[in-house]
């Protein structure tokens, strides 16, 4: 919280500026703007169909906004193809887990370092000296992250056989392997039980503090968002409804109205 407030005065790490997305007449996002400051956990909430996932997909460049801009450290990300988002420090996880099911945990995390390493097929085929040294260094880094997330026991296991909660941690490890500046988490609490959500909240906070990552949390689970977010943005019908501290947003009459009747779904 304090970190976020300190940084408040400086320019934002990520700025969403007046972003609109239109799908053939349906306005999925309508002029949404907000800032993400270094070291903060920003919660993005809203009922179903509010535009959370659309916004998320704009950030990871799967959708192209019809208007507006998204700036990472002052530079627009909208000119970059999706595969060149990771290299500027934006990492992500997926709503229903999108791992590489036939690869081991280690290999999944290794793919996460793709944007931070170099190679070509000739050097790789011949296992040249610099490729071997690079792999050795990469393996050290990958093992460190696997240990950090407590995945040592399953490091060599193929991920498709792992429990859902573990797969989510593997996805987190994969995203962290690239040392992102911003971590985009798409409904990380989905499919987890009460206890697991609690553990996840602590983990996200720990990652923010220890690995100096700024977090954007798109989440249905109000309890999680309200307990760990420093700043909350509420969306409804593609518009920004409210923004502020969790307490402010929770007390906002518009937010209460939007959630009424669906709060305990």
């Amino acid at each position: 919280m304090t970190q976020a407030q300190l940084a408040q005065g400086s320019s934002p790490l990520l700025a969403v500026r007046d972003v609109s997305v239109v799908f053939g007449g349906i306005i999925a996002l309508n002029g949404v703007s907000f800032d993400m400051h270094k070291g903060a956990i920003l919660g993005l909430i809203g009922p179903n169909g509010a535009g959370k996932t659309t916004l998320f997909n704009c950030l990871s460049r799967l959708y192209q906004p019809s208007s507006g801009d998204i700036l990472m450290e002052g530079a627009s990300i909208l000119t970059r193809p999706p595969h060149r988002i990771a290299e500027i420090g934006i990492g992500r996880t997926f709503q229903n887990v999108a791992l590489f099911p036939n690869l081991s945990v280690l290999d999944n995390v290794r793919v996460g370092t793709h944007c931070r390493s170099n190679s070509d097929i000739i050097s790789d085929s011949l296992r040249l000296g610099w490729v071997r040294r690079g792999e050795a260094e990469l393996n050290k880094h990958v093992h460190e992250i696997v240990t950090y997330l407590g995945l040592d026991d399953v490091a060599h296991t193929i991920v498709s056989g792992l429990p859902f909660g573990t797969q989510k941690r593997v996805e987190l490890a994969r995203a962290l392997a690239a040392d992102p500046k911003i971590l985009l988490l798409d409904e990380p609490a989905g499919g987890l039980n009460h206890e697991e959500v609690h553990v996840l909240g602590d983990l996200i906070k720990r990652i923010r503090d220890e690995r100096h990552v700024t977090v954007l949390l798109v989440e249905h689970h109000m309890g999680l968002v309200m307990s760990i977010a420093d700043h909350v943005v509420a969306l409804n019908f593609g518009r920004k409804l409210a923004e502020g501290t969790p307490a402010q947003v929770q007390a906002d009459p518009d937010v209460i109205k939007a959630y009424l009747g669906s709060k305990d779904q």
């Binding site: 990871s60 799967l62 999706p82 595969h83 060149r84 988002i85 990771a86 290299e87 992500r92 997926f94 999108a98 791992l99 590489f100 099911p101 036939n102 690869l103 081991s104 290999d107 290794r110 793919v111 996460g112 793709h114 944007c115 931070r116 390493s117 190679s119 070509d120 097929i121 790789d124 085929s125 011949l126 296992r127 490729v131 690079g134 792999e135 026991d153 399953v154 060599h156 296991t157 193929i158 498709s160 056989g161 994969r174 690239a178």
Partner: protein
């Protein structure tokens, strides 16, 4: 692709096997290598020739395995790349007097370029649609080779006769044996390079694309680049196999490279186990020897017998030689206890 998926998920959950999932252990590799080195010394020239073809088709199956098992792209057009490699070697040897060994890297590079370029339009297709596009390539290739325009170089319908090389340095072995060992060295080199490739950053990018394109892209993998690279690598290896094939058979003609060859290679990959590189040689043995066995059983109905044998294999071991290897491994494990 489901074949790979199911086999790997069947593996015991906590054991540390995946690192070797695409290859063999050192012990087994050495035994196979020993057999491949010693066997031809005791065989007649014709069988040595057949073993050379076994290695050559194994290379072509391996190439398809990298494409399909590695990057998840189908191809029924491998015969076209094989043909380009064969003709490149034949033309270079017969028209330009290039040494047979030197024609192989050239064939590989030309086929890499051809495959890489073909991979560009193929990017828009996946699954059965990609299979159909590559099928079209395989159908078109023999006719392109017959074109009068290229006839001076390709020999048109007649094809080209290739001179079989003698053993160098006056070595006292027959042409067939020399060519066998020459092929063996190249095959081992390519096998090791392929294993290295699939275990490297590039190989992980291939497999990431195979498993989940969107996630791969979010990790910074240039999906279009790696898909076309996979096509290039696969075509390049197939081209080297084609060049070796031309030298071994001493003849290239358009009708030697029809869709039947592409389907045979595809069959070899499935029988060997999709995504399992050592299976390539088993698949190759299947497509070379099983038709002969079928002919022994019944001359008139050899096609039907082959069909029945193939059906039995698919029915009993749907994941091919890989499944047999896994079962054998488990049995040995039990015996040791």
């Amino acid at each position: 692709m489901s074949a790979v998926e199911e086999v790997t998920s069947e593996a015991p959950a906590v054991e540390a096997v995946p690192k070797r999932a695409m290859t063999l252990g050192y012990g087994t590799s050495l035994v196979v290598l020993g057999l491949l080195i010693i066997a031809p010394m005791f065989l007649k020239n014709f069988f040595v020739f057949q073993m050379t073809m076994l290695l050559i088709y194994a290379l072509a199956v391996l190439a398809l395995n990298i494409l399909t098992g590695g990057s998840g792209q189908f191809s029924l057009g491998q015969s076209a790349f094989y043909a380009v490699g064969a003709y490149t070697s034949a033309i270079l040897m017969e028209h330009m007097g290039v040494n047979y060994a030197l024609t192989l890297p050239i064939a590989g590079i030309i086929c890499f370029g051809f495959g890489f370029l073909f991979g560009q339009p193929a990017l828009r297709l996946s699954g059965i649609y990609l299979a159909l596009a590559t099928f079209a390539l395989a159908v078109a290739m023999p006719q392109l080779l017959k074109l009068g325009f290229f006839e001076h170089w390709t020999g048109g319908v007649q094809g080209l006769v290739v001179t079989k090389p003698d053993a160098p340095f006056g070595l006292p072995i027959s042409q067939d044996r020399w060519l066998y060992y020459f092929t063996l060295v190249i095959a081992i080199g390519i096998y090791i390079a392929s294993v290295n490739l699939l275990r490297s950053r590039s190989g992980r990018a291939f497999m990431a694309i195979r498993d989940n394109e969107i996630a791969a892209s979010a990790m910074g993998v240039d999906v279009a680049l790696y898909k076309t690279l996979a096509f290039g690598v696969s075509a390049g290896i197939t081209g080297v196999a084609g060049g070796l094939g031309a030298i071994a058979v001493q003849f290239v003609a358009p009708d030697g490279y029809t869709i039947t060859l592409a389907i045979s290679l595809f069959l070899g990959m499935v029988v060997g186990g999709v995504g399992w590189l050592p299976g390539s040689i088993v698949g190759s043995a299947f497509i070379i020897f099983v038709p002969n066995i079928a002919e022994h059983i019944s001359k008139g109905l050899s096609g039907a017998v082959f069909g029945v044998l193939l059906f039995l294999v698919i029915f009993l071991v749907p994941h091919g030689a890989r499944q047999v290897a896994i079962v054998a491994q488990q049995l040995i494990g039990k015996l040791k206890k």
